[in-house]
Amino acid sequence: MTKIGIPHMETDNKNKPITDIQEGYPRRRFLLIVGWVGFFFFSLLAGLLTIVDFFKPKVLFGPSSKFKAGYPDEYPAGKVSTRWMKDKGVWVIRTDHGIYAFLAICRHLGCIPTWVEEERLFKCPCHGSNYNLEGDVVGGPAPSPLFRVAISYAPDGQLVIDKSVKEDRVGVREKGQFFLPV
C-alpha cells in the first residue's frame, strides 16, 4: 500500500487495511461499482451535454445572412449593382455569362471599399487596396482577393444570396454555388 502522509501518524495500527468494502465483501463491492458507474455516467453526460449542446445557440438574432435579391433580369449585364450595398454589404455583378456577388469587405483590414464606376475598380478608402471586377487585387496592400458569396435561385425564381458561404480561391470561386450562369 502507498506510504504517503504525515510521518508521525504512521506509528500505530491505523495503517492496517480496513476490509469493509474490499475483499470479503463482494456484494458491497459490486454495489459500490454499480453506484459509481451510474453516478459518473450521469455526471459526465450531463457535463458534456451542457458544454457541447447547451452553450451552442440554436437561434441567432440579427439580420439573416441569406436574402432574396430580386430576379436576374433586374441586373443589366456588364454592370456592378450597388443595390444591396447599404443594407446587406454585397455587390451583385452580372457578366455576359452569369451572375456572382462580392462580399463588400476589404481583405486587408476589413474596411468597406467603394465601387468606382469610372475606373471600374473597387477601391478601399483605408489603405488604398484596389480590386478589379474579378475581385483580384490590382493595387495596395491587400493579401487576398475579395470573397465571393453563394448565390442561387429560390423556388420562385428570385436570386438568393447567402453571405455565410464565401470563397476566394481561383478555380473554385468561378463555379458551383458562387457563380450562377444565366
Binding site: D20, R27, R28, F30, L31, L32, V34, G35, W36, V37, G38, F39, F41, F42, L45, A46, L49, K58, V59, F61, G62, S64, F67, K68, S152, Y153, A154, P155, D156, P181
Partner: protein, 709 residues
C-alpha cells in the same frame, strides 16, 4: 449503532440511486432531443425531395423529345432543379425563425411549416402544406412573418404552445390562439384600414355593416370616429309623421318593414316600456310646426307624375315594395306615415327639412311637383294606422303634457338617440363605452352575464352583444339591431380587427381621410351641394362609391358635347346596372356652368387634350384588333355584343381619343377596380384601337337632343 454505521442498506441505496441517475439522464436526453419539429422537418424534407425528384424525372424523360432550339432552355431548367434538390438535401435540421424588428416579433412557425413558401407543396397536409393563394407573394414572409395575420405564439416550437388550439383561461399558452379560417380575415383589418379590403369579403362586409348600422353614433369605433349621423334629423318630425305611426315605429321598427338584414330600416329596436314610448312620442311630436308645410296645387296629373317618377329614376335610391335602391326609404305605404302636404313640401324644399340628406334638390317645376305628389299619393297608398289600443289605455294617465315632453327628452338623451338623429338644442357625446382596440380586450375581464356556457372568446362576446344585448348585461341600453347572423358575424370580425394600434406605420394601408376634403366652394360647389353629387360620386376625394366613377378627371375623359347632352337627359351606360344616374332637371345655366367647369378644371393632366389625327389604315387595323381580341363578348358594338362593359357603338361621341388611348394602354392605372383585361398592347396597337373606337360616332342624334331642349 447499527443505523449509524454504514450497513448493507446504504450500499444498496447507493447502487440504486446511482443507476436511477443514469437512467434519468438518458430519459431526459430522449425527451429533450425527440422534439416534435425535428420529426416534422424530416417528413417535410422527404416530401420536398420527392416533389423535386418527380420534376427532374419528367424533365429527363422529356429531354430527348424536345426540339433542338428548346434544348438549351430545358437543360438549364434541369440544372436548376437539380440544384434545388441539392439545396433541400443539404438543408440542416434546425429551428427556423423570422425576425421582424419593426413588429417586435420572432416567428418560428417555419420550423414546422417548412414548405410554406414552396409552391409544389400546396397539396400536402399541414404542417407541410404550402401557403394557399398568393398571400405570401403580396406579403413577403421575411417582412411580415406569420403571427401578424394568424396570431398564436410565434416563439414556440411545438404544437400546443404555438396555441393552435383555442384554449382559454389559465391553461392558455398564449393570449391569442391561432385564428381559424373563419376568423382570419379580421387580421387583414389590422393593417388594411380602407373600407374595401381586397380578398377579404367578410371584413369588407363587416365594415360596411358597421358604417350602415351607425355603431359610431354611440361608440367610438376605429375608422368611423368622424362618421356623420346615420339617421335623419328629428327637428321637424312632428310635422312629418302622425302619432299612430310614430308609436308603432318606436315600439318595433321591424313591424313596419320586416325585411331581414340591414337593408331598411336601420332603426334598431330599443327595449322601452309603454310609458317610455309615450313620453318619447310626446317629446318628438312636440316639434311639429304646421306653418312650414305648404299645400300642393290642385289638379295634379297622376299619369304625368308616373312618367316623371320613372324618368327621374327615383328607384335608384328608393325602395318600392322591396325593390330598388337601398339608399333611401321605402315608398310604398308612405301615406300611412306622412301627410300629402308634407310630401309636397319635402320635394319642393328638400334641404330645408333635412339639411344633410343625401337626396338632391330636384329642379322640378310647380306643375311637375303636384303631378308627382298626386301620383305618389295614389300609387303608394298604405293602410291608415290607428293608435294601438294599449297606448290609448294609458295615454290619459294624468300627467300633463309638459311633464311628458320633459320625460321624453330625458329618455331621448339617455338612450343615445342623439347618436343617430340630430335634434336642435340637444348635444351630447357618445353615450356608450369606446370600443377602440376591442380585439385585444382580455376575455377574462369581460362581463359574460347569462352567457356562461359559451366559449369565452372575445368574438363570441361581441357576437352575443349584437345578437342579444340582454344576454350579457341586465337592462342593457344597447338596442337590438336588425342584422342577419352573417352580418353580425361580419361586423364582429371587422370590430375585432382593431387590436389597439400597435402596427407600425409602414405596414398600414389606409384610405385617404375624407376630412381633408371640405365642401367645395363657389358656384360649382353650390351645384354639387344642391344636387348632392357626392351622395353617389366621389368629387375631389370625397363622396360615396354608389357610382364607381370618380368625377375628378371626367373633363379629360368625355367630350364636351356629350357631357352637355348627358346632363340634360342622362341615360344609362350599362343597362344591367340598377343604380342609374338620376335626371335632375337642371336648368340650362347650371348645365353650362357644370360643362365648362368639367372640361376646364376637372381634367387629368396626364391625358392629352387634343383629339389627335388618325389615318384610315390605323382605323382599319384597330377594327382587326377589335375582332381579334373578342371585345364584342363584353361590349355592344352595332347590333350585337355583351352586356358586361359599356356599349361602344357611339363611343367616339362619348370619350376623348386621349382617354381611350391612355385607358387601353393601362386600364387599371385610372380605374384600379376595372375588370377590363390588360392585354399589354404595344404603342401601335393602342393607337390603332384608339383610332377605330374614336371613329365610332353617331353625333347627330345627340346633337338633336341637345338642340331640342
Amino acid at each position: 449503532m447499527d443505523k449509524a454505521a454504514l450497513g448493507p442498506i446504504h450500499y444498496i441505496w447507493f447502487a440504486v440511486v446511482g443507476t436511477a441517475l443514469a437512467v434519468a439522464i438518458v430519459v431526459l436526453c430522449i425527451k429533450e432531443y425527440a422534439r416534435e419539429w425535428k420529426h416534422h422537418q424530416a417528413i417535410a424534407k422527404r416530401l420536398q425531395i420527392k416533389a423535386v425528384e418527380e420534376k427532374i424525372k419528367t424533365l429527363e424523360s422529356e429531354l430527348p423529345s424536345v426540339k433542338e432550339e428548346m434544348k438549351a432552355k430545358y437543360e438549364e431548367r434541369l440544372r436548376m432543379t437539380r440544384m434545388i434538390r441539392a439545396q433541400v438535401m443539404a438543408s440542416p435540421v434546425k429551428i427556423q425563425q423570422i425576425q421582424i424588428d419593426s413588429l417586435k416579433k420572432v416567428d418560428r412557425c417555419t420550423t414546422c411549416h417548412t414548405g410554406i413558401e414552396d409552391v409544389d407543396m400546396k397539396d400536402q397536409e399541414n404542417p407541410y402544406k404550402g401557403h394557399p393563394g398568393k398571400y405570401l407573394q403580396w406579403h413577403d414572409i421575411e417582412k411580415f412573418g406569420c403571427t401578424i395575420c394568424h396570431e398564436g405564439q410565434g416563439l414556440s416550437t411545438d404544437y400546443m404552445h404555438a396555441a393552435h388550439m383555442p384554449l382559454r383561461g389559465l391553461d392558455r399558452p398564449w393570449q391569442k390562439a391561432v385564428l381559424s379560417k373563419y376568423l382570419i380575415q379580421s387580421s387583414c383589418g389590422k393593417c388594411h384600414l380602407d373600407k374595401e379590403v381586397p380578398f377579404a369579403p367578410l371584413l369588407s362586409k363587416g365594415r360596411d355593416v358597421i358604417e350602415k348600422a351607425g355603431c359610431s353614433g354611440c361608440h367610438k369605433v376605429r375608422l368611423y370616429e368622424n362618421q356623420e349621423r346615420v339617421g335623419p334629423s328629428l327637428d321637424l318630425l312632428g310635422s312629418k309623421v302622425n302619432r299612430a305611426w310614430l308609436l308603432r315605429w318606436l315600439s318595433n321598427p321591424r313591424e313596419y318593414d320586416p325585411q331581414e338584414g340591414l337593408i331598411r330600416p336601420r332603426m334598431p329596436k330599443f327595449s322601452l316600456s309603454k310609458d317610455q314610448i309615450l313620453a318619447l312620442e310626446a317629446f318628438l311630436m312636440a316639434s311639429g310646426n304646421e306653418t312650414v308645410l305648404k299645400e300642393p296645387a290642385e289638379g295634379g296629373d297622376p299619369e304625368a307624375g308616373a312618367l316623371l317618377f320613372r324618368e327621374t329614376r327615383c328607384v335608384t335610391c328608393h325602395l318600392v315594395e322591396g325593390k330598388g335602391g337601398y339608399l333611401a326609404p321605402e315608398l310604398s305605404g308612405i301615406t300611412s306615415k306622412v301627410s300629402k302636404k308634407w310630401l309636397y313640401s319635402w320635394i319642393k324644399d328638400t334641404h330645408y327639412f333635412q339639411p344633410r340628406t343625401k337626396m338632391p334638390q330636384f329642379n322640378f317645376s310647380e306643375k311637375q311637383m303636384s303631378d308627382l305628389v298626386e301620383y305618389m299619393w295614389e300609387e303608394f297608398q298604405g293602410e291608415e294606422f290607428e293608435i294601438p289600443k294599449e297606448f290609448e289605455d294609458i295615454s290619459g294617465n294624468g300627467k300633463d303634457a309638459g311633464e311628458m315632453v320633459n320625460q321624453g327628452k330625458k329618455i331621448f338623451m339617455e338612450y343615445g338617440c342623439t347618436g343617430c338623429h340630430a335634434k336642435t338644442g340637444i348635444e351630447q357625446g357618445r353615450i356608450a363605452p369606446d370600443i377602440i382596440g376591442l380585439g385585444s380586450r382580455d376575455e377574462e375581464r369581460l362581463e359574460w352575464g347569462k352567457a356562461q356556457g359559451v366559449d369565452k372568446y372575445i368574438g363570441n362576446w361581441v357576437f352575443a352583444r349584437l345578437k342579444d344585448p340582454d344576454l350579457l348585461e341586465k337592462k342593457a341600453k344597447m338596442p337590438h339591431f336588425p342584422l342577419t347572423e352573417e352580418e353580425m358575424a361580419a361586423a364582429t370580425m371587422a370590430l375585432l380587427s382593431d387590436t389597439g394600434g400597435d402596427i407600425p406605420s409602414q405596414y398600414v394601408v389606409s384610405a385617404p381621410n375624407q376630412e381633408n376634403y371640405p365642401d367645395l366652394p363657389g358656384e360649382f360647389g353650390k351645384i354639387v351641394d344642391k344636387y348632392r353629387c357626392r351622395s353617389c360620386h366621389v368629387v375631389y376625394g370625397k363622396g360615396s362609391w354608389v357610382s364607381m366613377h370618380p368625377l375628378d378627371g371626367e373633363g379629360s375623359e368625355v367630350r364636351k358635347e356629350w357631357l352637355r347632352a348627358y346632363f340634360s337627359l342622362p341615360y344609362s351606360l350599362r343597362p344591367i346596372l340598377k343604380e342609374r344616374m338620376v335626371s335632375l332637371k337642371m336648368s340650362d345655366s347650371e348645365v353650362d356652368l357644370l360643362v365648362n367647369f368639367f372640361t376646364s378644371v376637372m381634367v387629368n393632366n396626364s391625358i392629352p387634350g387634343d383629339e389627335g389625327t388618325f389615318t384610315e389604315e390605323e382605323v382599319a387595323g384597330g377594327k382587326i384588333l377589335f375582332d381579334k381580341y373578342g371585345c364584342i363578348s363584353c361590349h355592344i358594338m352595332g347590333k350585337g355584343g355583351g352586356y358586361v362593359g359599356p356599349p361602344l357603338t357611339t363611343v367616339g361621341d362619348r370619350l376623348t381619343a386621349g382617354w381611350i388611348f391612355a385607358y387601353m394602354k393601362n386600364p387599371r392605372y385610372y380605374e384600379p377596380w376595372s375588370i377590363q383585361p390588360d392585354y399589354g398592347f404595344s404603342e401601335e396597337e393602342t393607337r390603332a384601337l384608339t383610332a377605330y373606337l374614336a371613329s365610332c360616332k353617331e353625333m347627330k342624334k345627340n346633337i338633336r337632343v341637345s338642340q331640342g331642349k
